[in-house]
Each structure stands twice: as structure tokens, then as C-alpha cells.
């Protein structure tokens, strides 16, 4: 994404992201085919379109394309802040336009905490190149040198003479100019930023949300649209045996019953199969589905029972199939250690439960698809629909609605493919909606994990051996049937353990998958950070050290770690170590910062305890302190959470704070409450009563401080999550003397 095309000059308008259809939902929409023609007639006369992200009209309105999906992280505010700042735009004259799925934008896969990390530079360049062309157009008109001009509030100003020209008045002239070379772009200095780094920018969608005028995937209404729910196999891979279509059709309002193709693993992003009930409204569809009396064939995955599976994972940890990091000689060091500490940790299978379950509306007509969906990944939605329906990907138009939460679930477009298949078969617009039960029982799950750790202390009490064995079913199994060994999950907090220890071994045991395994906010960092963050605290206790002092001591001297020197292939979230090093100085600075915030070491009320943890993920650093209290009934409450965040340059501090506040709640949910269990291959939980998450009374006060940094922007959406659970359990230990190694804590009766 380093090259910026001048699309207006090349007349490149096919499926242009900026179009009225991208803005308007719920009304009769023109066919996508008609749009390029409609816009082709006005190219170069009333629009300045210097690149795919920016469009300026004669009306002086700057349209900024947000090509990433909004799911609560605030990207529809943050991207315009970046572009508008470099452009010199007036925030009141900005129109935010959601980009259609289109590879011209570069990756739109909104996960991995990448939106700002990957697009900060290209978006600044997009804004700067547009601004420089507008400056040049004004300079030409005034016959002055371009260096004498500047851009402010949608206006080019000639400082010497005070002359001004609005962006809108320069549209025609700027459109005739050549794009500046990337190497000649002049970007703003940090001190000149108007929006980047500022906390006073209101949410772009704030008013619409407060008035109920937003459109999520569930809310899409198309003319003549029909409503569908689907009975999916209760066990992965179970094929349809029989169903009673007549009984479903007898329900008033039911229009059709359609059997979907059975799933052939690997699941990838294919529909799970089953039977769809299509109706005049959602209620009739749900009633129709209940009447189907579904019968299913047996599936190999019905052998999945959580109790037995947990035991198998524990055994697998003792027989690792792959060494993932190896430094020194751990076995020797452990055998010679004066003291060996061992502990095992367990995190159950989890699910995303975004408040909006998956939903997609598809309209197949004239050989193409118009689709609206709450998707994190419109481009893989395009390719997945193409693959399942035979319609070419370029004829699959994906409009991205707002997402009512994502957390990784909506980066799997299986639900969009379902809607596409049904619309094509029935030749009407179809909206497929997943009920809460569907979402919980047919998900792409966060992998259950068992972990065994051992540490060896030498004569002086120094930790000189660290062994970490894990067993967790891999995400790879969703893409390659039978895969039973983790891959890049190991890069998420396992092999990048940062402590300065002479002998280290990290290894994984086999774990066959029996459900679709996916990725959920911060992914396996959840498991690994819980185990490591808890275990170091157990080491502190064994050594009689203060938790924070122990953490700093284990991190050792300031250094940038290269894990390849320790026989580990570390992916670093797709970034180079030059740009995003693993820097222990930044880790320690975050720990010191959070300690000041929480006043670590202060005298606490009776029954209170502080716990500390630090974790680097998605190339950002988050240190966390939690204060818990135990009441007279032995119940634990998280009172306060302090988070010190080093995410490099902070583009949208207000949303960084809100992401951290949310991360605390997200992690508190799985620390206290959430657990999926399987019986004979069927997930036993199905709604918020059996799959619990944090509610209002559970919420602590979360205090966030962002460490000032000029390092490139790192991830924000996920890095807040991993250190919370170990900090909570460490705090509980300090308050009560009890160490909990298995989540969720509700099983111990303390919450």
C-alpha cells in the first residue's frame, strides 16, 4: 500500500467505494452496475479524487473512506483523524464513507490490532498528497511558490498576502495535476497535529448510536427481503439425516425450507450445512425452524467430551511433539536446580458473544451479488462467496455495515456465504440472522488449553531454567483437517516470553480439534499470559520477593530480544524487529508507570490485595495492576484496574482509553465466568444464562495512562486483554493466600 493511484485521472471508477449506495441502507438501491456509468460522466469536473481514501467535492466537503470495519474500536473516527490532519481539513466539513470490499484499499481484514499500525503511514501519505496538490493548484492560480502556501480548515492560504481559496474551489484545477512522488511528500511534524494525538474528537457515529439511527448487519432491510434462520449441525460435521419441511411450512409466514450442502471439512469459511427456514419475518422463521424436527447423522466429533479432553491435554503436555524455543539445556538445569517449581494452568474453550450475532443480507440479481454484512473482512467475504456460488469475486459487492461487536467472530464470513447461497437459489433478497444460541453453539471457538510450567532456582535463588509446555487445538485445524499442533499461536505470548533466563524450553503437544477453532480478541495470548503472568508471581512468592521487584528482576537488563538466537521462529505480528523491537526497557517503563498509578506497595484495607502483570502483544506493551477485595462471604470483587499502555504514538488517545476499559471487562468475563463445555460433541451452553459474561456490578473502575512515545503506532484493540487475568489472580493470592490456576473462577465459589 505504498503506491497511491490517481484514480480520477485514470478514470478508475468501477465499484468506487464512494457512492451513494455505500451510505444509504434501507431504501431501494440502484444496481451496482449503474454506478460507474453515473459517476463516469462527472469525472474531473466536480470531484477531486487524488487517491482511494480521499474525495473532495465542489461543495467543499471532504469525503474520507474508512476501509476498515468499525466494531467499537473507533476506527471510523481514527482514520478520518489521520487523513484530515495531513490534509488540513475542517472536521465539520468531513463526510465519513464506509469503503466497499475492494482490494484497491489494501488489506481490509480488521483483526490483529492492525488498522492504525498498518495504515497510519499510507493514510498520512494519502492526506498529504491531496493537500500538496491543492496547494499546488492554488499556487498556480496565484502565481506564487507552493512553499508559501499552507492548508488549514479546508482552505489553502497564501500567508504573505492573506489570500484564501477553499478546497472546493480548487477541485477542477487540482484534478489536472500530477500526483506528487511518494519521496517528495511532506508530512506534518508531530507538534503541528490538529487531530492526531488529541482527545477531544467526538465519535463519528456517537449521535446516530444515541438516537438509534445506525445500521448494523442485523438492521439491513432490502425491498422484498425475506428472513432466514438456519438449523445447523449440533456436532461439527454431522450431516442432515431427516427433517420435516411440511411442519415448518405449516407455520404462518414461512415461505420456504432449503437444505444447505453438508459441510466437508476442513471448515474454512464454508457454511456448516443444515436446513434454512425462510419466512416473512424473523419470528416465523424461528418458529418454522423449531418445527423442523431435525435428525442428524453421527459425526466423528461426537467423541468430544470436555472432562476427558482436559485430561488428554494434560497428558499431551508431558509428551510435547514440537520444541518451539530452546536455549541452553533446560533438562540439565532443572535436574541440577536447588528448587524446582511446577504449576499447571487451564483455560476452557471460549466464544466471542458480540452483542450482535452474525447477520448478512444478500441480493443476487443480474449475475451479481449485492451484500450487506457486519463483516471484519469484506475481501475474504468476496472470495468465499465466489468460491461457494461460482460468481466471480469482482461481481460480489460487499457493503460493510457497523458491527455490533466483532472480537474475531466476524472475520469468518461463513454467515455471509449462507445468505448468498440462499439468495441465489431463491432469487430474492435474503437476510440470514444467527440467534444467540446459534452463535454460542456453532462458533469458531477460542481454543481450550492446558499448560505445564516448571522453573528451576539455583543456589543463589536465581531462576536459571524455564520450561513451558502447552496443549491446545490449533486454528490450523479449521483450514486443514486433522491439524493437531499449534503454529503461529506460539508467537502469541509463548515463545516470546521475555525473561532473562539461561535455560529455556517452550514446546507444544498435540491436540486434535473437535470444533471449529478460531481467533478471539488477543487469541492465545489469553492462555499464555495467564499462565506466565501467574507463574512468575508464584516464583516471587517462592523467593519471598515483592511481585513487582521479581518481575523487574526477571526481565533483566535493558535489551532488545531476538528470539531467533534461541531457536525460535518468532513472527512479531508480521512486523520487523527493527521497527517493532521486543524491548525490555519499554516493558519495565510500563511496569514502573503502572506502579506509580496504583501506588504499589501502599498499605491496603483488610481483605484487599494488589496483583501485577505485564504483557507485550500486537507490538504494544501493557502493564496492569488490579486491586481486589474479599468480603465476609469469601466473594471477590475487582475494585480497580490500572493500565499503563505503551502503544507507540497514540493516534486517538480517547479511543485507546476506551479500548483499555473494555479490555478489562472482556478479560474479567473469562477470568470470573465464561466457560464452554462439550458433551458428545455438543456445546452445552447456549445463551447468557449458561455462558456468562461480566455485568454492571462486576465492573471495576479502570484507570488508563498512555505512555508518551514517538515509536511507530502499535496495536490497541487487543493488547489490553492478556495481562488482566493473571493480575486478578495475583491480586487474589495477595488478598487471600489462595492461588487459582484454572479459569473461570466461579467454579471456586468466590464470585
Amino acid at each position: 500500500m505504498n503506491q497511491i493511484e490517481n484514480v480520477s485521472r485514470r478514470g478508475f471508477l468501477k465499484k468506487l467505494g464512494i457512492s451513494s449506495t455505500a451510505l444509504v441502507l434501507g431504501v431501494q438501491l440502484p444496481s451496482m452496475l449503474t454506478i460507474p456509468k453515473a459517476l463516469a460522466g462527472v469525472v474531473g469536473t466536480d470531484k477531486f479524487i487524488p487517491n482511494v481514501y480521499v474525495q473532495i467535492g465542489l461543495d467543499n466537503i471532504v469525503s474520507i473512506v474508512v476501509h476498515r470495519s468499525e466494531m467499537g474500536q473507533g476506527i471510523r473516527t481514527s482514520i478520518p483523524m489521520i487523513v484530515a490532519d495531513e490534509l488540513g481539513a475542517d472536521w465539520q466539513k468531513i463526510a465519513v464513507v464506509q469503503g466497499l470490499g475492494d482490494k484497491k484499499y489494501g488489506s481490509q481484514n480488521t483483526d490483529g490490532s492492525r488498522s492504525v499500525r498498518r495504515f497510519y503511514q499510507p493514510l498520512r501519505e494519502a492526506g498529504a498528497s491531496a493537500r500538496m496538490m491543492l496547494q499546488q493548484a492554488a499556487a498556480n492560480q496565484w502565481q506564487v511558490d507552493v512553499s508559501e502556501t499552507s492548508a488549514i480548515n479546508n482552505t489553502i492560504v497564501h500567508e504573505k498576502t492573506g489570500r484564501e481559496l477553499s478546497f472546493g474551489s480548487l477541485v477542477a484545477a487540482a484534478s489536472e495535476l500530477t500526483l506528487p512522488e511518494q519521496s517528495t511528500l511532506i508530512l506534518k511534524a508531530k507538534k503541528d497535529f490538529n487531530f492526531i494525538g488529541k482527545s477531544d474528537v467526538a465519535l463519528v457515529d456517537g449521535k446516530k448510536i444515541a438516537t438509534g439511527k445506525t445500521t448494523y448487519g442485523f438492521d439491513v432491510e432490502l425491498p422484498n427481503m425475506q428472513y432466514a434462520v438456519i438449523a445447523r449441525p449440533p456436532v461439527l460435521g454431522a450431516k442432515v439425516k431427516s427433517f420435516n419441511a411440511d411442519a415448518a411450512k405449516a407455520i404462518a409466514g414461512v415461505l420456504a425450507v432449503v437444505q444447505l450442502p453438508d459441510l466437508e471439512e476442513p471448515a474454512v469459511f464454508k457454511p456448516l450445512g443444515g436446513v434454512a427456514v425462510i419466512a416473512k419475518n424473523t419470528w416465523a422463521a424461528i418458529k418454522g425452524r423449531e418445527a423442523l424436527a431435525m435428525q442428524w447423522h453421527e459425526s466423528e466429533h461426537q467423541s468430544y467430551n470436555s472432562d476427558e479432553y482436559k485430561k488428554a491435554l494434560a497428558t499431551s503436555c508431558d509428551n510435547p511433539a514440537k520444541i518451539l524455543r530452546s536455549k541452553g539445556n533446560v533438562n540439565k538445569a532443572l535436574s541440577e536446580a536447588k528448587q524446582v517449581l511446577k504449576a499447571s494452568y487451564y483455560v476452557p474453550e471460549l466464544i466471542h458473544v458480540p452483542m450482535e450475532p452474525p447477520a448478512a443480507a444478500a441480493h443476487f440479481h443480474d449475475g451479481l451479488f449485492d451484500i450487506w454484512a457486519c463483516t471484519q473482512t469484506p475481501q475474504s467475504a468476496q472470495s468465499s462467496v465466489a468460491q461457494s456460488t461460482g460468481v466471480a469475486a469482482e461481481n460480489v459487492n460487499i457493503n460493510v455495515t457497523l458491527l455490533g461487536g466483532g472480537f474475531g467472530r466476524k472475520s469468518k464470513p461463513d454467515f455471509i456465504v449462507e445468505a448468498a447461497i440462499l439468495s441465489k437459489q431463491l432469487n430474492v433478497p435474503i437476510k440470514v440472522m444467527w440467534t444467540r444460541e446459534d452463535e454460542i453453539q456453532n462458533g469458531y471457538y477460542h481454543a481450550v488449553s492446558y499448560q505445564k510450567l516448571a522453573a528451576g532456582l539455583d543456589q543463589q535463588g536465581h531462576v536459571n531454567a524455564w520450561q513451558h509446555h502447552v496443549a491446545e487445538p490449533p486454528i490450523g485445524s479449521t483450514f486443514s483437517k486433522g491439524a493437531d499442533l499449534i503454529g503461529s499461536e506460539a508467537d502469541l505470548g509463548l515463545i516470546d516470553m521475555p525473561f532473562d533466563i539461561a535455560n529455556v524450553s517452550c514446546a507444544a503437544g498435540k491436540a486434535p480439534a473437535h470444533t471449529r477453532i478460531g481467533w478471539m480478541r488477543s487469541v492465545t495470548n489469553i492462555n499464555h499470559a495467564f499462565a506466565i503472568g501467574s507463574f512468575v508471581d508464584e516464583i516471587a512468592d517462592a523467593k519471598g520477593l515483592d511481585s513487582k521487584d521479581n518481575l523487574l528482576a526477571l526481565l533483566g537488563p535493558d535489551r532488545k530480544i531476538d528470539f531467533s538466537l534461541e531457536n525460535a521462529k518468532y513472527g512479531n505480528y508480521g512486523e520487523t524487529l527493527d521497527k517493532f523491537p521486543v524491548d525490555t526497557a519499554r516493558m519495565k517503563a510500563a511496569i514502573e508507570k503502572v506502579s506509580k498509578m496504583a501506588k504499589w506497595g501502599r498499605k491496603l484495607p483488610k481483605g484487599h490485595g494488589l496483583g501485577i502483570s505485564m504483557h507485550r502483544s500486537f507490538v504494544s506493551y501493557v502493564a496492569c495492576i488490579v486491586e481486589v477485595s474479599e468480603n465476609s462471604d469469601g466473594k471477590i470483587k475487582v475494585e480497580d484496574v490500572w493500565l499503563a499502555v505503551d502503544c507507540g504514538l497514540a493516534v486517538n488517545p480517547e479511543r485507546i482509553r476506551s479500548q483499555m476499559e473494555g479490555a478489562a471487562i472482556f478479560a474479567l468475563s473469562y477470568t470470573f465466568y465464561s466457560e464452554l463445555t462439550a458433551k458428545n460433541g455438543v456445546i452445552e451452553q447456549n445463551n447468557f444464562d449458561s455462558y456468562q459474561i461480566a455485568r454492571f456490578a462486576d465492573a471495576p473502575t479502570t484507570h488508563v495512562e498512555i505512555i508518551d512515545s514517538d515509536a511507530p503506532p502499535g496495536g490497541v484493540g487487543e493488547p489490553g486483554v492478556p495481562p488482566i487475568a493473571p493480575a486478578i489472580c495475583n491480586a487474589i493470592f495477595n488478598a487471600t493466600g489462595k492461588r487459582y490456576r484454572e479459569l473461570p473462577l466461579k467454579q471456586y465459589g468466590i464470585v
Partner: protein, 156 residues
Amino acid sequence: MITLTVNGKEHQFNDDGDMPLLWALRDILKYTGTKYGCGKGLCGACTVHVDGQPVRSCITPVSAISSQNITTIEGLSEQGEHVVQQAWQTLNVPQCGYCQSGQIMSAVALLERKAKPNDKDIELAMSGNICRCGTYQRIKQAIHLAADLATEVKGS
């Protein structure tokens, strides 16, 4: 035939009387500001007011609403000027925003019952509304702010 009065406007409803009010509002009458979250009255995303009382529309059959006034998020104010909506915007409460219609309707009902709620009142009144993004802290602040704003409005 059932007459549904939504935000002061009468609609004739001529479908299954067992249909939960949620689906009648969303699918039939096209008030999509009211959200589906669980279908079991467990999450509060579907909260509307029936004669001023907060009700989970996903478990309330249309037939149970006889000549009562239904208020949805769309009917709270013309332009988002209700103090609760103002407080929500001032504090940038929402993240994804999906649950916020229900949160706001629960908060409005609380403030109508108790003009100056304390933290415990808020916890109790809001305990049925789940936010997966975790905006509880800001919701609490916003309810306090709305209470202050309402007092200022009355006082001025």
C-alpha cells in the same frame, strides 16, 4: 388486529399475536433501533418502554400490549436532545454501540423513577443490560451526568 402505538404513532398489527414485540417493531414496523441480543430477556438490548416502564421486548408478546404506549429509542427525542442521549455523546460512552439503545432506555427509566440515583441504584437498574465491549464505567458516569443535566434544565 392489534393497534400498536409506537412513539405516539398508531400502527395496525395483523400478524401472529404471539410474536415478540421486538420482531414486530423491527421486521414489521421497521423500528430497527431496538436490538436483538438473546431472545430470552437476558441481555437487555431489546429494552423499550411500555407506558414508561422498561420492558424486554424480545419476551413480550404483541398480544400483551393492549392500548399501551410503546416508546423506542427513536421516540426518545427528535434530535438526540434528551439529557441521557446528550450525556452519552458527551462522554463518548459507546464502543460498538449495539447494546446502547437498550442501555439508554434502561437509564431513562431509572432517572424517571429516581432523579438522583447513587451508584448502587445504577448498578441495580442496569444489571439486566449487558455490554460486551465493556462500557459500564462510562455508562455509570453518563447516568450521573444526565441526572445533573436534568437538574440544570429544570433549574434554569
